[in-house]
């Protein structure tokens, strides 16, 4: 029979091999899923794994979706590494978008060219404020940050709906729940003309570098992580757990808010009830699949972005529901968690114990 034996040391090989094995299993399960739905599995895989990378435009769309995922995941990695369970990045993303839209709507013909910087800053502040509520409640009243941050997601969405159905509704918008399209001057500078890719990609990549330096080369980053790995050791060393809590939530809130601002002032150009696209939740998967490592999260953000685009294409090309995206995201996380067992355990084939024979011998 198969037996799991604990390893003396976590396996370095499986630390990297586990996500690849998880992806393979996800693909296999995907094939089974397509067959069960009566679709050509080759065509299905094509839609998810080939179409998103087959042309420059497709690649640009991949980047458009990967950027907010990566930005949010970078912030969440700081949280998760320091044992702060911020599940509410989606809410911080929405509030970032709302704050950014609030600033963008004030733009008119006299507005200067650098106005987009102000919009992004407003987004960062919005995300920080929203995450700050969670930090304050945890710090002051020991409220559980998982519940508080998650519930604040729904509060944020309701605030967004209130604004687009009420005070901020475009008077010329045929009563659709949306603001007016932002003035052209507010457009985030584009990187490649003819695509929707903007400077947000560069910001996300800069974030990757900054996070790497912070985590692995600075004392503050070290202190931040000790709080997550061994809280008693952090207390012994004299690292403040309150500081770690605030830093984690403000950084991740700011990053999610920035992603929200980039999204609303970039591809979307107006505030609608459809701003919350689930990036905040998908980024949790991105963070874990990427091993909370800055570089790993680049890869997982691209992968998750493929699932987003693949899901949309599956809808139009194969007539499958868009919820397929969620199914693939869930499968990947699930198989990854299962495969991670191999880091701590090795599988060994053992023959059945011979206890029975000993008793017969009596």
């Amino acid at each position: 029979m198969l037996r799991l034996e604990p390893r003396a040391q976590p396996s370095t090989l499986w630390r990297y091999a586990s996500p690849l094995l998880a992806l393979t299993i996800t693909v296999v399960l995907g094939v089974i899923l397509f067959v069960a739905l009566g679709k050509d599995p080759v065509r299905g895989l094509q839609v998810f794994f080939w179409e998103p990378i087959k042309s420059v435009y497709a690649l640009s769309e991949l980047m458009v979706k990967a950027t907010p995922l990566l930005l949010i995941a970078l912030g969440l990695a700081v949280c998760f590494r320091s044992n702060v369970w911020n599940i509410g990045a989606e809410g911080q993303f929405v509030m970032g978008a709302v704050f950014a839209a609030g600033v963008a709507l004030t733009a008119d013909a006299h507005t200067g060219a650098g106005f987009w910087v102000l919009i992004l800053l407003a987004g960062v502040v919005g995300g920080m404020v929203w995450a700050g509520i969670t930090a304050f409640l945890r710090d002051r009243f020991h409220a559980n940050e998982i519940l508080v941050s998650l519930m604040l997601v729904y509060v944020a969405i309701m605030m967004l709906n209130f604004l687009v159905y009420g005070p901020w509704k475009d008077p010329l918008g045929y009563n659709f729940p949306q603001t007016k399209t932002f003035d052209a001057i507010t457009q985030i500078p584009k990187l490649i003309t003819g695509t929707r890719v903007n400077v947000g990609v560069l910001m996300a990549l800069a974030g990757v570098g900054a996070l790497w330096v912070f985590l692995f080369r600075t004392h503050a980053g070290f202190a931040q992580q000790v709080g997550g790995l061994a809280p008693d050791a952090a207390r012994y060393a004299g690292f403040s757990s309150r500081k770690a809590l605030w830093l984690a939530l403000l950084v991740s809130g700011g990053a999610a808010g920035l992603a929200g601002a980039l999204e609303v002032a970039g591809p979307l150009r107006q505030l609608t009830p459809f701003v919350p696209a689930g990036y905040g939740f998908a980024a949790i998967i991105v963070a874990f699949v990427g091993r909370l490592h800055p570089v790993g999260m680049v890869l997982s953000a691209v992968l998750m972005s493929m699932f987003y685009i693949g899901g949309e294409l599956a809808q139009s090309r194969l007539g499958l529901p868009r919820s397929l995206t969620g199914v693939f995201q869930g499968l990947l996380l699930f198989t990854l968690l299962a495969c991670d067992t191999l880091m701590q355990y090795r599988v060994r084939w053992v023959s059945l114990p011979r206890a029975v024979h000993a008793e017969e011998a009596l």
Binding site: P6, R7, A8, Q9, H219, A220, V226, A230, Y236, G238
Partner: protein, 515 residues
């Protein structure tokens, strides 16, 4: 062949990094108090867990009353007539004694019946206990009585006791022995796990000695001396106590009237602690654990900053509310009792674990200094230096802290703090769970530090260790600290009486209470 109550042959249990039991054989007769003697880490606890069904052996055979048995879990063990009292109690603090006992018993009985049976058993064996008291109001000695009564209610033929005296005062130990002898006289067998030689010689009628997972000898402890037993146990004779001069310098740590209510509902309040440690001396704090040592150490290290500033003074500076890092900057270094998880981050490398208390590898100038830039190369060099100097057996500076044995990690942590050239070093349980060789090395390092003019404060449960290290000795009991005893005044019986908090009483009364 007379039938053994318990017969183990060739029991083997392997863990990934260590063979905990290597072909262990053990035979226990009815009515026998059988000691299993060995250092921490010799494999005693694993062997007992195998007998009790909590751990499955990889090989070997267990016979109980002549029958081959496969004990799959503790329930089966109890059904066979095997009971165990663990070193760490498993009682619910908020429930009463009777409710706790009831939880572990056959569901057929009502709470009232269980209460009655507790009272009966208690009076039968002189285990004085009130079944209706909530467990959190009990002292450790009383909690142990509850555990023993719980074990006795299953009417066991074999009772296993794992280090039962580690939490007891010498007087309470005597009471326990009376109960155990009575149980043996009824024909029950007792397996008595310990590493305390004099107890085994006083109580047990047979003894199996273990070292590094193997049986190194079977003997009658009544025929042996401490020296011969310890030779079997550690493979060498214990070191002789050395006489040494004691010329302390200026006061480094002065604690005056430290009062601190515990922030844990089951913790101990500190009630007016007075202690002084001077340069060039070792001050020891003895006492059964759970009498406020933990709380005192938190207040001294800065992990608890609620003390009034002037209650704790470090060379004339009031430090009561400084955090650990600020106190380290003033020369106070601390090695905590829990090595993994508090003294070191288990999953991080030894090099990175230096950063918990040491800042030498941080950039100190310019932009890099403002960022707190880590110089990884310097960090590794620093770790490698400690590894070499303190003879730490490890895979190098990159080895994760949890990959080291207890003794080697302790050597590294003690080295980490000593190399910071502290003015005051506080060490809690310096050799707890550490093998003999490493323990001797650590004690030597502490004494060398004292001779170099550092003030050293040692908190330990091991009386022998304190008597070896300390120039002066205090005893802690119920959140209070006794007056200091000099090295010459300190002896086991006096400290034993003080462990119950009896130092205020005149000598006559102490003798009375002790008898």
């Amino acid at each position: 062949m007379s039938q053994s109550r318990l017969l183990l042959s060739n029991i083997t249990k392997r863990y990934p990094a260590v063979v905990a039991n290597d072909a262990v054989c053990l035979s226990v007769q009815p009515g026998e108090i059988h000691a299993v003697l060995g250092e921490n880490g010799a494999g005693k606890s694993t062997l007992m867990k195998i007998i009790y069904g909590a751990v499955k052996p990889d090989g070997g055979e267990i016979r109980f009353n002549g029958q081959v048995v496969h004990i799959r879990n503790p329930q089966e063990a109890r059904r066979l007539g095997i009971s165990m009292v663990f070193q760490h109690f498993s009682l619910f603090d908020t429930l009463s004694v009777a409710e706790n006992v009831w939880l572990g018993l056959d569901k057929a009985l009502t709470l009232a019946q269980v209460t009655q049976r507790i009272t009966d058993t208690a009076s039968q064996y002189g285990l004085d206990i009130d079944p209706l008291r909530p467990v959190h109001t009990l002292g450790v000695g009383e909690m142990q009585r509850v555990e023993i009564i719980r074990a006795l209610l299953t009417n066991p033929q074999l009772l296993i006791l794992d280090e039962p005296t580690s939490v007891l005062t010498p007087q309470a130990v005597e009471k326990l022995f009376v109960v155990l002898r009575q149980l043996a006289a009824e024909g029950r067998s007792i397996l008595y796990i310990s590493h305390k030689l004099h107890e085994i010689r006083a109580l047990c009628t047979a003894c199996t000695v273990m070292r590094t997972g193997r049986v190194t000898g079977v003997c009658d402890p009544r025929q042996e001396t401490n020296a011969s037993l310890s030779q079997l146990m550690i493979g060498s004779l214990p070191p002789e106590l050395k006489v040494r001069t004691h010329q302390p310098g200026a006061a480094v740590l002065t604690v005056r009237g430290l009062r601190l209510p515990s922030d844990d509902p089951f913790g101990v309040d500190l009630q007016g602690i007075d202690v002084q440690v001077r340069a060039g001396e070792v001050v020891g704090i003895a006492g059964v654990s759970g009498n406020g040592q933990r709380e005192l150490l938190y207040a001294l290290s800065g992990e608890d900053t609620r003390a009034a500033p002037e209650h704790i003074q470090l060379s004339d500076q009031a430090v009561g509310q400084l955090n650990p890092d600020q106190r380290r900057a003033l020369g106070l270094h601390f090695v905590p009792e829990e090595r993994l998880g508090r003294g070191a981050v288990p999953s991080l490398s030894l090099a990175h674990n230096l950063l918990l208390t040491r800042h030498e590898a941080l950039a100190d100038r310019g932009v890099a200094g403002a960022l707190g830039w880590l110089n990884l190369k310097a960090l590794k060099t620093q770790a490698a230096h400690i590894i070499t100097k303190y003879q730490v057996k490890a895979g190098g500076p990159d080895a994760a802290a949890h990959s080291l044995s207890g003794g080697n990690l302790q050597k590294f942590l003690v080295g980490r703090e000593i190399e910071a050239s502290p003015k005051l070093l506080i060490v809690s349980q310096p050799t707890w769970g550490v093998d003999v060789g490493a323990a001797a090395q650590i004690r030597a390092a502490l004494l060398a530090l004292r001779d170099a003019g550092c003030a050293v404060l040692v908190v330990s449960e091991e009386l022998d260790e304190l008597l070896e290290l300390s120039d002066r000795l205090h005893v802690m009991a119920e959140g209070r600290l006794s007056p200091a005893l000099s090295r010459e005044e300190a002896n086991v019986s006096r400290i034993g009486a003080w462990m119950s908090g009896l130092w205020d009483k005149p000598a006559q009364e102490v003798r009375h209470a002790a008898s």
